[in-house]
Subunit: 272 residues, 2 copies
Amino acid sequence: MDKINRNERIALLLKRLTDSPGEILTLGSFTEMLNSAKSTISEDIDIVQNLLSKLDIGSIETIPGAQGGVRFMPGFSKGKSLKILDNLCADLSNVQRILPGGYLYMIDIIYNPKIVNDIARIFAGHFFRRGIDYVVTVETKGIPLAFAVAKYLNVPLVIVRHNSEATDGASVNTNYVSGSSKKIQTMILSIRALKKNSRLLFIDDFMKGGGTAKGIIELAKEFECEVAGIGVLIETVEPLKKLVENYMSLLTLNVVDDDEKIIDIKPSKGRM
Amino acid sequence: MDKINRNERIALLLKRLTDSPGEILTLGSFTEMLNSAKSTISEDIDIVQNLLSKLDIGSIETIPGAQGGVRFMPGFSKGKSLKILDNLCADLSNVQRILPGGYLYMIDIIYNPKIVNDIARIFAGHFFRRGIDYVVTVETKGIPLAFAVAKYLNVPLVIVRHNSEATDGASVNTNYVSGSSKKIQTMILSIRALKKNSRLLFIDDFMKGGGTAKGIIELAKEFECEVAGIGVLIETVEPLKKLVENYMSLLTLNVVDDDEKIIDIKPSKGRM
């Protein structure tokens, strides 16, 4: 391979690092890829670090020792995260979004790639150090968000379903009680989907009573896995007491009033 | 803003362009963002173009005229696409994947962010010039892929569901007959989900008879929209005659033989 110039090295390093968040890459692997000396690569990585900080999309961590190297940690600064959440609240507060029964129309937001990727990066930054092996969600509305979080954490996505399919193979079926509607629902997951002793991050778009999250914790036990984190885009104020305790929500929905045409939604406090 | 050096400008341009595929960005917008002269930006863009070609992730197109500028077109070279598909076939041909009834276990692949993003980039490159307004899929297994294609085409994702939910608001419900099982299934889509006269790209993980794709074409008519493209990851050889004619598949599955332990899957011919 020909020697390549600094601009190209920087761009290649930036891409290689951000494509594989959390993966420890040795300087040696770069010297080969870029046909340059370690000292040169080391300077390049400082430049990349500085760029990431300007772009505000994450940072580079140096891991010392024989197994050491550098790795990319995704995430935004606190200021950028808050700005994203404020914009989201402004959008979600549009009274046109009020649906009969006091529901909030939000599928245009939770299926929008740009918005979803921004939200996912906030979650990824928050849960990065938890040693997550899989991101788990329950079909359907949280799938795009969970997929994007899985991408930034560089781990596989697992989707729990409500009905079994022949294409899943043998599966584990559990039942859970919805925290809000008290209805019994079924959760189905292929027995091949999770390796034993894995750490799971449950991601969903919405939490009311927390029944789904609790169901995932129970399901995880059947696979001898542990739920190491729970992240939801929106939680409702009511019921105050959820069925799970440790979770992170980005937004808190207080009220959707169909008669008065009021939506009260704010960035969640104390969980960022 | 302080004047920034070339390395930084290149990285910022690369990010700005690849973050918004298809969006026409004027040189003027960059001179402001980067506090540099048009001639400088012009040189920078040449460097970015060269980098994209080295990274093999797409290219930059110049749009002349008063409304002109540059835009990023996602996609791989033909060689890289084929390599990705060959690797995928090798993985899918593992006999451990054979499930009872001759099904193929593939949810670990179609939920894997890295693999899904590669596949999505191939589709995005293929359908980029069709003027797509929305990517549409039917729940559940094709959602990660459809979401990733939507991201690379820089358009919203729309998910058609089998059951209606209060959070969708008023919806259009249609029925369709599965091409393979001949079962009648329901498709439900919120009336707010699509703007009239839009061009849709239907993306799915699997096509056997083509009934789902045909159902989407019918559903699109109810919204006064047009299906301008159909892309599926895997099609089966049988039945030879599908219910839709114009579609692109990446892989063709000939046989999954549970007794002989044979999986025959190859990159599709003539559709790339």
